[in-house]
Amino acid sequence: MLKTVGAVLRRLALAFGLVLAVLALNFTLIHAAPGDPAQVIAGEMGGADEAAMASIRKAYGLDRPLPEQFFTYIGRSLQGDLGQSYLYNKPVSELILDRLGPTILLVLTALLGAIVLGTLLGVLASRRPDSIFSGAVTVFSLIGYAMPVFWTGILLVILFGKVWPIMPIAGMRDVRMMGAGALANALDVLHHLVLPAVTLGLIYLAQYSRLARASMLEVLGSDYIRTARAKGLGDGAVTFKHALRNALIPIVTIAGLQFGNLISGAVLVETVFSWPGLGTLALDAILGRDYPTLLGVLTFSALLVIVANLLTDLSYRWIDPRLRGR
């Protein structure tokens, strides 16, 4: 128990170190970008006159020596102050918190759907590795990987926008739902969620089914499975109770590692479906030259990935008892 607490504390300390490193990298980027950092922070909106620039220099301490600026920047960021957006005229942290919910909803739906369905497909495929079904899973995973995610989304928009209009193809809510009750609103959001989540989930579904198939095939070939079969256990018990538990370890590992890619994919999917999340915020920030918001989204997404990695690490200990003491 004490060992576990120590291990968890060590992981937390490393995670905190990573947060600091991300902030340091951001600071370096602001100062390495061509032009005056005040200009970078104000954005190249053209609206920033000399007085505004002077106030930015003062507010960010840009007239101070570099090391002092560095520590001020880190200190402010750790307190949740990611600067001011000159495009929206709001604190960046407020903008991010507004957009966080939709992105988390999209990413988690896609990830969980892909893990559950992908594992199931992979497990079924591994039971008869030479069957047509197993071959189909392999082909599907190749196709799913090679489809550019924004293109998949666009094809779905064409399908459901033109051919078979049963799904909303843009946004997160229908304006006509403004006066409706909470349940109707929730259902409306879920209805809007279907296409973006399917688009984002498909790539990972492809990867997890392939991974689960490979992982199950490896586990099913091991000695303890033969023992379980020799004990007279049924096929279902061997597959799902004995083999799957071990085969899950690489799947969970990859899921944790891929959280960053998932956010990258969400940027593209949100753009296609005008989903009001962090990705569209980042793209609008780029188009409006709103650098504090853009860097804020980068910092915050890195923070999400760090948290996801921590959770993955803890869930290992739960799946694999051998790791509990480490």
Binding site: G17, L18, A21, V22, L25, L29, A32, A33, P34, V40, P129, L142, I143, Y145, A146, M147, P148, V149, F150, W151, I154, L155, V157, I158, G161, K162, A214, L217, E218, L257, G260, N261, I263, S264, G265, V267, L268, T271, V272, A282, L283, I286, Y291, L294, L295, V297, L298, S301, A302, V305, I306, N309
Partner: protein, 303 residues
């Protein structure tokens, strides 16, 4: 004096069984396995067709991709002059499809080269030297792993200039971590093997050991990983140009899709055909990558 008894003949079928027994080098042996892999050969053929199309297509077709050649929204297969139709500005879709692969594939290859170079250097130093070098470089790798790669590339391209060189650099900088981890593991394993120890005992320095002794043996898994990175880098380039974050003066498949994004319901063809090309290219590259993986790691063939 009795003549020695003739050696028993090998059982039929065993003679040409494994290429290794035929005395082939590991590279030729890998090629034998690769050639027997239908999916991989299909990928190679597809890649060949695409490359020929990209190299000779634009000159043979003769229409510039940015030129306005017909009425906007001309449907495909209706006008023989613009066989794949025109986009929302009246630009020829076929001309874009033919030339649009050049930027995508060149950027993909160059970015993968940058990524693999960074990855192998970082991984080699970490794996070979171990100790604090390893700790420092592993932390660096972790830092780049937690930054969502597309967002980070978007930030780099935006803060600096959106030229093709910057796009190559941005993709390279975000895509190297996997290779670094792989190279680190390989270098750690190989530096302890006897042949490396022997070379060290003969006075070889670290640079020579890393480049001449360890690297050649670490090549097979690194080549497989490099192929996968080429596929990922092509998808990356497509994504960035779809978002309008690449050089606006160079036509690419991703840019065709991005610039027609607002009109997809009016002209599905202007986004569908370039998308098919990206898909086919990435599919071909990953089929070849899978084939190389099977060829270099025969033990994992079942996967």
């Amino acid at each position: 004096m009795a003549t020695p008894a003739p050696r028993p003949a090998p059982p039929p079928g065993a003679a040409a069984a494994t290429p290794a027994e035929a005395g082939l080098s590991p590279w030729r042996e890998a090629w034998h396995v690769f050639r027997a892999n239908k999916a991989a050969m299909l990928g190679l053929a597809l890649l060949g067709v695409l490359v020929v199309g990209m190299v000779f297509g634009p000159a043979a077709y003769g229409i510039a991709p940015f030129d306005i050649v017909a009425a906007p929204f001309t449907e495909p297969f209706t006008d023989p002059k613009v066989w794949l139709g025109t986009d929302y500005l009246g630009r020829d879709v076929l001309a874009g499809v033919l030339i649009g692969g050049r930027a995508t594939v060149l950027v993909g290859l160059a970015a993968a080269t940058v990524a693999v170079s960074i990855g192998v250097t970082v991984g080699a130093l970490a794996g070979y030297f171990g100790g604090w070098v390893d700790t420092a470089l592993s932390r660096l790798t972790e830092l780049f792993q937690v930054l969502p790669s597309l967002l980070f590339a978007m930030v780099l391209v935006t803060l600096f200039t959106p030229s093709l060189t910057m796009v190559v650099f941005a993709i390279g900088v975000v895509a190297w971590t996997g290779t670094a981890r792989l190279a680190r593991a390989e270098f750690m394993r190989l530096r302890q093997l006897e042949y490396t120890q022997a070379a060290r005992a003969m006075g070889a320095g670290p640079l020579r050991l890393m480049l001449r002794e360890i690297l050649p043996n670490a090549m097979p898994p690194l080549i497989v990983s490099a192929t996968l990175i080429v596929g990922a880098a092509i998808l990356f380039e497509a994504g960035l140009s779809f978002l309008g974050l690449s050089d606006a003066n160079v036509m690419s498949w991703g840019m065709m899709i991005g610039s027609n994004r607002r009109n997809i319901l009016e002209c599905w063809w202007a986004v569908t055909f370039p998308g098919v090309c990206i898909f086919a290219t990435v599919l071909a590259v990953s089929l070849v990558g899978d084939g190389l993986n099977d060829a270099f790691n025969p033990k994992l063939h079942r996967r």
